[in-house]
Structure formats: C-alpha cells, structure tokens
Symmetry: C2
Subunit: 622 residues, 2 copies
Amino acid sequence: MSSQSFSLRRLLLGDPLASSQLIHEKISKVKALAVFSSDALSSVAYATEEILFVLAAASTAALSFSIPIALAIAGLLITVGFSYYQTIHAYPKGGGVYIVAKDNLGTGFSLVAGSALLIDYTLTVAVSVSAGVAAITSWLPGLISYRAILAVLAVAFVTWMNLRGLRESASFFAVPTYLFIAGMLSLLAFGFFRWLTLGGLPDVEVIEPIHADLAVSGVGAFLILRAFSAGCTALTGIEAISDGVPAFKAPEADNAGKTLLVMITLLTSMFLGLTFLAHEVGAAPSHAETVLSQIGRSLFGNGPLYIGVQIATALILLLAANTAFSDFPRLSYFMARDGYMPRQMGNIGDRLVFSNGITLLGVLASVLILIFNGDTHSLLPLYAVGVFISFTLSQFGMVRRWFRLRSHGWQRNAAINSLGGTATFVVLMIILTTRFLAGAWIVLVLIGFFTLTLLRIHRHYEGVAENLSLDNYGAPTRLRHPRVVMPIGGVHRGVIKALEFARSLSPDVTAVYVETSPEEGEKLRQRWDRWGDGVRLQVLKSPYRSIVGPLIQYLDKLGEERQPGDVITIVLPQFVPEHWWENLLHNQTAWPLRLALLFRAGYIVIDVPYHLGETSMEELDS
Amino acid sequence: MSSQSFSLRRLLLGDPLASSQLIHEKISKVKALAVFSSDALSSVAYATEEILFVLAAASTAALSFSIPIALAIAGLLITVGFSYYQTIHAYPKGGGVYIVAKDNLGTGFSLVAGSALLIDYTLTVAVSVSAGVAAITSWLPGLISYRAILAVLAVAFVTWMNLRGLRESASFFAVPTYLFIAGMLSLLAFGFFRWLTLGGLPDVEVIEPIHADLAVSGVGAFLILRAFSAGCTALTGIEAISDGVPAFKAPEADNAGKTLLVMITLLTSMFLGLTFLAHEVGAAPSHAETVLSQIGRSLFGNGPLYIGVQIATALILLLAANTAFSDFPRLSYFMARDGYMPRQMGNIGDRLVFSNGITLLGVLASVLILIFNGDTHSLLPLYAVGVFISFTLSQFGMVRRWFRLRSHGWQRNAAINSLGGTATFVVLMIILTTRFLAGAWIVLVLIGFFTLTLLRIHRHYEGVAENLSLDNYGAPTRLRHPRVVMPIGGVHRGVIKALEFARSLSPDVTAVYVETSPEEGEKLRQRWDRWGDGVRLQVLKSPYRSIVGPLIQYLDKLGEERQPGDVITIVLPQFVPEHWWENLLHNQTAWPLRLALLFRAGYIVIDVPYHLGETSMEELDS
C-alpha cells in the first residue's frame, strides 16, 4: 500500500488510464486478417508435423499416408469454414460459442462450451509458445535444453504486455502475420518451382529422427484415424473471425465473411502445400528440428531466407498466444457478468484491461508448459478435444437457431450448419476414440469439473442475492445503544484509551478481566478502582489459566440473554508496535477470540489500536 | 477452536490441570542422584570415544595418549566439582549460572550465560538422543541408515511426554540411572578382574574403523590439546545438582553437597575405567559401533549382558535429553520474567508446564539433528564451547560474590572458585583454539546474536511499559460521539444492517460510495433515497476505477480536519459466507483499506459481519 509499491507498479505497467480513455477501433479487412487469423494460420507450423509424428510410429514408409489424410482435413476445413460463414451473418455482434450456445442450447451447454473454451485458450498459449520456441531451437539447437524455461519467459513477456494494456493496434499485428504469409508462400512457390523443374526434390538429412515404435504393428485404420485427428489441430482458431465481427468496418458481416473466405483459402493451401513438400523432401519428425524447419532448410539452405522463415514462424505463434490473452479474459468477463465466474474476473484494472483474467491465464499456461516440459507433441493431444467440442456446440446451436427463427433461406442455412456440426461431431468422436489415453480423458474430466464448479459459483451468487435482497424488507429498525464488553488484561494507557472510546459508543460498558491468580486479580481490582472511572468490572475466574475459554463462555451467556435487536459489541484494546516483529513479543490473545466470534452471529468486534511509536502517540493525543 | 480440536488435544495431552494441582516434591539423596545426574553420568557414553576419535586421525599408535589425557580431564572434573560444591552452599535456593551471573557480574554477563545455556540445552537434547540412537545401532547395525529419523522420533516422544506434563517422579528416573550405573560398574569390575587374572585383555575386532587422516602428520601438542578438549565433554551436566538444591530434603545444601560428591566419584571412576578398558581391548572409533559397545562386546560377548548395557545406555541418554526439557523452559521462564525473552515463554499451559518452551526446544533439537544427520561426532565440537562459557561465568561470579560478602572463610572459598574458574577458562581457550573451525565459531556467533536479541527484546518491553504507564496521566477524557464513515458498494440487507448498527453508535453517520461509472452511481443514489433512512451520502468519483484510493484520500482529509478528541470510525459491512472458499468469490476491497488504516493513528475500523447462512440469519433477526 506504500507509495513505493505504487511506483514500482507504475514503472512496470505505466500510469493508470481513466475510464474515458476506453475506445474501440474499427478495422479494415486487410488489418482484420492480421488480427484474427494468427491463431488459425500459425497452426500450419505444427499440424503437418503432428500427422507425420503419428505415422512415424509405424514405419518410415507409412509417412506417405500424410497426403490423403491432409486432403481429408482440407475438406473438413472448408466445410467448417462455410459453417462459420453462416454464423457471421447471423451474429453480427459477435457469435462466440458461449453466446450461441446460451441463446440456442441453454445454460448447460453454454457452460460446457465455456469450460472447453477456457481450457482451449490456455492450451493455445501453451502450444503456440512451445511451437514458437521449437521454431527457434530448430535454428539454434544449442537452446533445446532450455525450451521449457524459454517458453515460460515468453509467456511472462506476453502477460506483462497485456497487463500494460497492449492496445489491439492492428498495424502492430499486421507485420508478423504478413511476414509469415509471405514466408510460407515463397517457400511453397520456390518448392513447387524446383519440383517442377527438377522433377522432384533432394532428400533432406533428418537429424535425430524419431524411430518407429515396435508396439505399433503396420498401418491399420486406427493409425490412420489417429493421424487424422492429430492433423485436425490445423482447424484451431478458424472461429476467431466469427467472434470478432463488430470490429470490422461497416458492413461488418459482409467484410468479416469475405475475410473468412480469404483466410480459409490461405490456410487450406498452406497446409496442403506444406504437407506435400514435407513428403517430397522426405521430412520426418525429429527430436531436434521441426518439419517446417526441415523443409525450409532443404530448400533455402542455412541462409537468411531460412532464418527469416523461422523467426516469422516464432513471431506469428507468439501472436497466436497473444490472441488468447484477449479472448480468455473477455470470456471470463462475460461469464462473471452472468454470475458463473468469480466477480473479480469482471474488474477492470488500472490500465483498462481485465488484469485478473490475464494473470490467471499466464499462470495456468506456464504451469502447463512446465508439466509437459514445453513439448508440443505432448500438449497437442489435449488441444483438439476442447476445440472440436466448441465447434460442434456452435454448429448445432446455429441449427437450433434456424429451426427456431425460420428466416429467409433457413433450410439451406440449417443444412450447411448441420453438415458442419455433423462433421465436427464425427471428428470429435474420432479424436476421443483414438487419443483417449493420450490425454483426451484429462480434458473431458476437466470440462466436467469446471462445468460443475461454474454451476456451484452461480448457486452461491444467487443465494447471496436472495439473502441480501431488500424486497419485503421492513422499515429500518432503530437499535438501542449497543451492549459493550471490553476484555482487559491489565490497566494501562492502551486500556484507558479504549475505555474512553467504548464510552463514546454506549453508556452500557462492562470491563471483563480473566483472573488466573488471586494476587494479580486483587492488584487489578485496585487499579481499576483508581482508573476505571466508575465503569462496571466483571472478574471471571479461570482455574485452568485459559484466557479465551472463560471469555467465550461469558459472551455466550450474554448472547443467550440477548433481547431482539441487541448487538453485543466487544471492544479490544490492540497494540500496534513500531516494527512488525515486535508482535511476536506479545501474547496474541485477541486472535482466538476474534476467530471464535467470527462464526457466531450477533457479536461485533472492534479493535481499538494503540500505536506504540512516539509520532503516532502525539497524533492520537492531539 | 472447535470442540473437535479440543478433544484431540485432550486425547494427546490429557485433561487440563487446575493451578491448585501444582505441587513440589522433596526428594531423598538416592532419588536426587537419579534425577540430577543422568546428564553428567551419561556423558561417559561418548567422552572417551571423542578423545579416541581425535587421536585416530593421527595414527592407531596415537590412541595410547588417551590414558594421560583422561587423567588430566579427571583432575579438571574434580576441581570443577569442588567449585560447584561451594555454589551449592552459597545458593541453597538454586544457583544456576544465569542467576549467579545476574547477581554478581551484571546483566551483560548473565545474558551471555543465558544464551550459552539455551544453546547448551538444545545441544544436550541433540547430542544425547543421537548418542542414545548410536548405542542402539551399535547393537542392531541394520538401523544405522535410519539414525537421524530415529533420533527425531525420540525427540518427538520426549517432547510429547513433557507437554503431557511428565511429573518429575523421582522413582521413574531412578530405574534407568541405576541400571546404567550398575551396568557400567559390572563392566568395569569384570574387565579389571579379567585383566588381573589374564594379565591383559584380548583385542576386539573393530568393524569399519576410522582411518588415519593423511593431513594430520604425527602427534603434536595441538593434536593432544584437541583430544583433550574433545574429552572435556565428560564434564557436561555436572552443574545440574547446584541448579536444583531446593528439591532436596532438609538440610537441602548439605544433602545436595553429599550427592554431588557421590556423583563426581562415580563419574570420575567410570570415565577413567572405561578409557583404560578401551585402551586394553584395543577399541578404536568406528563408523558402525560406539567404543562403549566395543568394550561391552569384547567382555560380555553378544549375550543378554551386552544387550542390557546397550539398552541402559540408550535409556540414560534419553533421560539426559529429558532433563533439558525441564531446564530450557525454566530458564526461558526466568528470562521472560525479567523481560529478556518473549512473554509467551512464561505462559503455563493446560498441563501446568511451559508448553511454548518445550515445543521450541523439541523443534530446535530436531532441526539440529537433521542438519548434522544424527552424527554425535559432528555435534560434539559445538557442545563444549557453551558448557565451558557457563562454567567460567559461574565460577567467576562466585569469586565476585565472596569478595563482596566476605563471609566466614571467604578467602578459602574464593581460592577454590578461582581455581575452578581459571581451569575452566583455560579449557575454554583450548577448546576455542583447537576446535574453532570445527564448529566453535558457530556457537560464538550464535551466543553474540542471541545476547543482542535478548537486549533488544528488553528494550522493546521497557519502551512499551513506559508508553503504557499511567503515571502523570490526567483524568480520563470524555470523547464526543465518534464520527462514523460507512463505505458502501451497493444497497442491500448487509449494508442496511450495518447502517442500523452505525446509527446506534453515533448520530454522526456518513455513507460513502465510490463511483466508477455514472450509471451505477445514479442507480445507487436512487436506492439510497429509498433505503438510506435520511443518512448523508457522499459520492466520490473515481476516474481510474480504484475503490480504495479515493476512500483513503477522503479519510485522510477528514483526519486533517479532525478536532482534538475526535475519533474517526469506519464501519465496514462484511460478508461471512457459509464456506470459507466462498470468500474467493467476493471482491475483498476491505483488506487493503484495513491495512492502510492500521498504521494511521486516530482511525478505528469496525467490521459488521453479515452471516449469509440461513440459521445465522434467523439468529440475527431474532
């Protein structure tokens, strides 16, 4: 609370911003693509690799299955993309799945969606930052043993920037996104050109390749489905534009829809192209280098072009993590507003951001990274489950909506959303079946647990509101003067000051002394006669030397005799020493008393501080 | 505070005892020897071994020096013994060094002595329990890797027994002490008998002997002195009888003096005899077995006699540790009474014991054991320093006393104490010189630090007493009704209840609301008009959304305008939810406010609890 801590805070976070400084920027399609697509586009940095990672467990020959699998995923991507195109036009104010589910499927499903999303956002941060670090360690292998700590530092940096209130400056976002798009498109163009002119590509030398798992015998349907679900991580983030429609320039829905189409086109072609190139250069998952880095290295060598691609990849992944830092606190705020999350999630900090949500996300993501040692392959099986649960709920929410509204062209719209919903539901089932033991079960358990917790929080707030409601509350009652009890351990200035205060509150004051030895008791009685100014003194005998026990018994007895409207007020003289450690030198009898009374209704405890420092003494006496 | 925790406490510690149940037992010489000599006599279990431990570092041949060194120590023992014989007659009410130094050498030396003693008592527990465990692991070598944990369990057991209020039942003490004496005397008698009849003793096979340290070249004066100081641990505990004179039957001093002479005789002959036998059977320090166990095994074999000696040794060492559990809390109580230790050390617990001192000693000793891994050899170099500091202070305190009182025969008495004091001072110097780096420096630093801390504690209590003194305090002032400020965040039952209470305290009540958004502010104003019962409402604008900042500014301004005798009273409505975790669901704005006001004089904070549970509601409404 000191001015010192305030200035440290200002140094780190900047000056507080007034509420009136909150503004909303409307952005063009070109900038919007940069703002909303970093999460989706950056997933090509790991999606192809995940497919190969599963296939490599069978044999090197199995890697060729990546091409048909990628084609299937591209089909899914286009289907889901069109489905979201519908949502954009139906919810021009932003159609996040929490809202769509709440409107169309009811509270239960909206909470499931909310839980899934909160887990997703946390995983987005952990996965994106880990993959970004992997892009750097592929280029600089010496850093590989520090990957977890580098990832945590990156999360800390993003958290800090967001706490400072990184304004969603679209231009700031545009640079790394378009750099990455440019890098990927050059890679693809150069790769295809060489493939066409050379009639093939030279094989890359894979460092520390992952060897086939002897437990996996041959390529069966299960393995193919498993590789397919691993590749479905390419779809993460494609819902972002539909959540952010209001940020577009008018006509919002139209512009957002067009941007979505561009994004889907870019994403599909980059994903397919990279998977094809990976196959042609013979890239294989390795402990030391990402597949994307292998492609870059085989085409560009180790020169500046390669390094540029790696850095652009790391930056867009950092940006993808950053988007979760706006989404997570915003969703928490919506849910807190509806009474399902702790109210503190709705607090707007000094810098006009939801500081609590930002901090919570930073901590959770760091913990995840440390648990999984910054390894993308371990984190990704957790990721897809939540994403596809929210996709499915979102699509079926839309279907319910079309059936409910029956607006113009509702049958066609419902059909498109049904197709999307069915596709994502089938994929969800595939993911759950093939990756259950790899981590999907953890996510299911967490979603269940969070949903129940959200409901419990809501029940608490409802109970409080009911308890506090002034409906049917009569006229305020006039309480009599409170009955004041002042436990004393001796007669000294602190006690006399407290007595003066007690008498200013009420004419009904009783001092209470717990006597542990008759001599001390007699001495106290004499001093009270001299200094107690006629106030009643009650002496309680304590044969077992406990101070608190007899006091509580006495107060309980008073409580039983209490008349309606009586409040028993306990005035406690309290030392405030100059140094905190000096508290250790005094019997802290007041604490157990305070604790015992906290859970009894009808008692109020007042600490009357007595400052032992000299300056404070003067102040009090002045 | 619940009845459950009380019954667990009763189960562990027994029913509380009334103050009237405190009785003091007067004991006979035979029982007194058992009560007061366990610490001194038990030191023969490690003193000889310590001498050999130092000598073994040079060579096996050097072990023969143990005989002359032991003779020198025996001489010292007798000198110091007679010196304490004087103390007994001079302080029939108990002449602990803290009291002797306070009476004769002044506060400074008494605090040094007190610090040294508190450290000694802690080391007594750690050393005795570790040596006791070593007696058991010599017999059962399989337990040796658990020695630290066994020692900590033993300390926990002794702590528990003392917290229950192990009455100093002399008969209880007599059994292990006399068993040990009988065991040692049988060992010596049998050993000498065989030595005389066989003309020598067969060599014992030493398991895992400690090998000569290559850094130590030959036997020089330094090594001999070092071995001598190691052996001086045989003197620990001989002051115990002089501390406990009042426990003897009348004539107290006479009986105590005679008991001391018997103890010195026993101790000297046991120490010399064991050192001689160790030499004759060729016992040598080992990692696995104590020297005492080697002697026993070589004379008695592995039969019941040997096992009996080991068990008796372990028991008397446990008893020695136990004596520190009466000495440490008693000394702490004396020092707390004089205002040099925290007052809590003077609290007498449920079971009529100084529970805080007992617990503190148990914790400190356990920490020491864990740091030194229950190894007697590492702990003993620390031990002797404090012991000889207090010996020296005690003897010279007595010399000062004789010169001051000049009572009958004072010259002779002063000469004896001077001899004792000089001898112990020389030994102290030897210990410090030869064992400085082995740990003596730690003890010196600790004694210095404790002494300064004790002085600082005293200064604090004196300052408090002066601050609280009612000398020159005028007549009690009549305070006006307090000025009551009630910060509110909304208008609900909890606030209305608090308002009712505030109005019962004073007619001068102001409700204060911090407005972060104009709409909310307007809503609140309307609700206050309806429910505020005419109480003044002050609205503070907060452009930066901070709640606490504007409130503190407002209160500071009120504080500046304050008239003499005004107390500004802040009434805070406080939720008390049914479950503790529900506190997490509410903004805890009250805490920073409370913290900020704690260090400002002239403000008093009152929490008016509002219980959210239904039962409590009824109680409050009744």
